[in-house]
Amino acid sequence: MAISAPQKKTAGRRGRSAPGLIFGDLWQYDPAPETADPKLKPRYDLFIDGEFVAPRGGKYFDTINPANEQKLAKIALAGAADVDAAYRAAHRAYEKVWSRTSGRERAKYLFRIARLLQDRAREFAVAETMDGGKPIKESRDFDVPMCAAHFFYHAGWADKLEYVAAGRRVAPLGVVGQVIPWNFPLLMLAWKIAPALAMGNCVVLKPAETTSITALKFAEILQDAGLPPGVVNFVTGAGATGAAVMAHPLAAKVAFTGSTEVGKIIMRSLAGSGKKMTMELGGKAANIVFDDAPLDQAVEGIVNGIFFNQGHVCCAGSRLLVHEPVADAVLAKLKNRIKVLRVGDPLDKNTDLGAINSKDQLEKIRELVDSGVKEGAELYQPPCRLPEKGFYFRPTLFSDVTMSHRIAREEIFGPVLSILTFRTVDEAVEKANNTAFGLSAGVWTDKGSRILKMSTELKAGVIWANTFNKFDPASPFGGYKESGFGREGGRQGLLDYAKLT
């Protein structure tokens, strides 16, 4: 990855590595823990037909704080009978109440929900961070406000559905079954529930096994909002519960966010069933940096792209493609930058990288990182100290990665960046698209026409140009190829919860 001979005056300056910063142990921050009360209960039951009910099997499982491995609460384990009860409640609510509730009234419920969540934002942010491990600054400034924004946005659609599909009328599908992942528990819940309710559907949703708490806290908000019983039901549990939610005959549609592997299993299990589907699956996004990009901004974008939420992001910019002339400079800047990332207590307001969501996920990350070393990529990790208890992983860079390495092909879902280089625009496009995934991609360049060319050629559902990991309820999100189908957000996403009449 040697830098080519200087062509311009700036090339020499860029090529020189930036001076090292001496933070390390000399400049310890005082702890700055967020102290708001998450108001956790010791036990969470299922939320069916507007009430918290014990699971029929009487079984519970523990949910822990991945930051210190301490038990937070016990969560009801829903069996097939509980899932069935949830569907019957949803179906009843759909037939008797929700399908007869006007769009104007549905809108007001959704507005209320958004407002009530805003009222309790800090409490929810702390709960989200404790149950999932993400830094409090992210749950406080991103997850919770964005969750509220999704309800606020979709609320306004509920009485304007005649504008969703030009020339056609839309109608709700009925009851939809939804299964969401653990990386953005509240936000994924909002992405799923808000458009479903706005369109007039009722919902049975299963949160991820490791992050059920905020969904069940959210059920309290639904009660406070006076949402009619049965319109939204939460069943908690692991894979078997999820399979029951997907397979239930009363589900007119299922929406799944999770791994491509599980998505395919669901698709097979539903073949021939006539159920509508939306799949938001894995990704291996290319983040492409050209030599004319503003490198300091690009480095910030790369860091945000891969280390946001510890890299537990399906659209994470996990493959950095750097233009050869600036490859060394970018790598040097990146190393410098990640030396000062603060890894540790997720509740500390200064923390950049919190805890890995679970032990299983930590093992998976370790396994893939080991494969990267074995296959010959060059590993770099800053020498930061990690807490003794809890699941943590250092921000990790791999240079000298080739397209055939597992770390360039498989979704790691952790704070691990694989760096590859390219020489021409065509090579960048070829490498970026050479994957079964197609969820997102990033492009960094000063040249407008190149951005538009890249955004046309990259086979991905979301393109971030000179930015990364930006989300908005008005902005459709979803993948090409094996990253799934259907969109979430915007008018396009709303239509996936409708049938045309």
Binding site: A149, A165, A166, G167, R168, T260, G263, K264, I265, M267, R268, L270, A271, G272, M279, L281, A436, I451, S455, T456, A460, G461, V462, I463, W464, A465, N466, T467, K470, D472, A474, S475, P476, F477, G478, Y480, K481, E482, S483, G484, F485, R487, G490, R491, Q492, L500
Partner: protein
């Protein structure tokens, strides 16, 4: 002495050329009166794979054509059909269709092409959007063709059914590999000749004749087919959906028994949307 007429050897239209099956297999076709009509290529999995390759090669060029150009080419295809209207009607009546039904079917097929030709430079304005995000970014959503689309046409109506599924896929820049009516393949053989003279680049539409039971499994699992659009019964639907899961392929099916192909409800913007991807681009707004 009566002149012996020249009979046509039925060949399928793949990659812009008229070919026989690579397997050299054929099946005999009789007309409504039971007389031998001709030998129809019995296309194989290998033919399907070759057709997908041709479609993939034609894809980028076709998708890069301007919408205006694609619209004109679809219109030109309608012109080709209209000019050979009598022959197309004959290709239906010869195999048992009533004259009036056949004429209605051909006319509807031509009109359907005109309908989709007109959409070419409009659907984007209706389906795409500029999105008011709550931050200083310009955010817009456009559509893109998915790539190579597998089409399974209904047995009846052989021409109108095929065109109703193919036209909305190609208008946006997709390319198509279609399995045509098994029972009534001859109208599709004729359609191939019209495609060849319509300015449509070779490989954009590839038509295969043959047996569903042989070809459906490969349509289901071929990973380069990004979507399957079909008018199929429950068993084929299940097989196609099962195979589609392997590569997260998009599937859209209509019930051949419940579709009124002549009606306006058999066409629409949604059919175009079914083979489109939505792509959203973000860019900061600033100096």
């Amino acid at each position: 002495m009566t002149r012996l007429p020249i009979t046509k050897t039925p060949k399928v239209y793949v990659g812009g050329a008229f070919i026989r099956s690579e397997s050299a297999r054929v099946f005999p076709l009789q007309d409504a009166a039971g007389n031998f009509f001709g030998n129809i290529p019995q296309c194989t999995r290998k033919d399907l794979r070759n057709a997908v390759e041709a479609a993939a090669k034609a894809g980028p060029g076709w998708a890069k054509r301007t919408a205006y150009n694609r619209g004109q080419i679809l219109y030109r295809l309608a012109e080709m059909l209209e000019a050979r209207r009598a022959e197309l009607i004959g290709s239906l009546t010869m195999f048992g269709a009533v004259q009036a039904d056949a004429a209605r079917g051909v006319d509807a097929a031509v009109d359907r092409l005109i309908y989709y030709a007109g959409w070419a430079d409009k659907y984007e304005q209706v389906l795409g959007s500029v999105n008011p995000v709550a931050a200083p970014y310009f955010n817009f959503t456009v559509t893109e063709p998915m790539g190579v689309i597998g089409v399974i046409a209904p047995d009846v109506p052989p021409l109108l059914g095929l065109i109703s599924l193919v036209a909305p896929a190609i208008v946006s820049g997709n390319t198509v590999v279609a399995l045509v009516s098994e029972k009534f393949p001859y109208p599709s053989i004729l359609l191939g000749e019209m495609l060849a003279t319509s300015d449509l680049p070779g490989g954009v539409v590839n038509l295969l004749t043959g047996f569903r039971k042989e070809l459906v499994p490969t349509f289901a699992t071929h990973t380069h087919l990004r979507a399957i659009v079909g008018a199929v019964g429950a068993a084929d639907r299940k097989a196609l959906e099962l195979g589609a899961a392997d590569s997260v392929k998009r599937t859209h099916f209509v019930d051949p028994d419940a579709t009124d192909w002549l009606a306006d409800t058999a066409q629409g913007l949604e059919a175009i949307r079914d083979t489109l991807e939505f792509k959203t681009t973000w860019h900061p707004v600033g100096a």
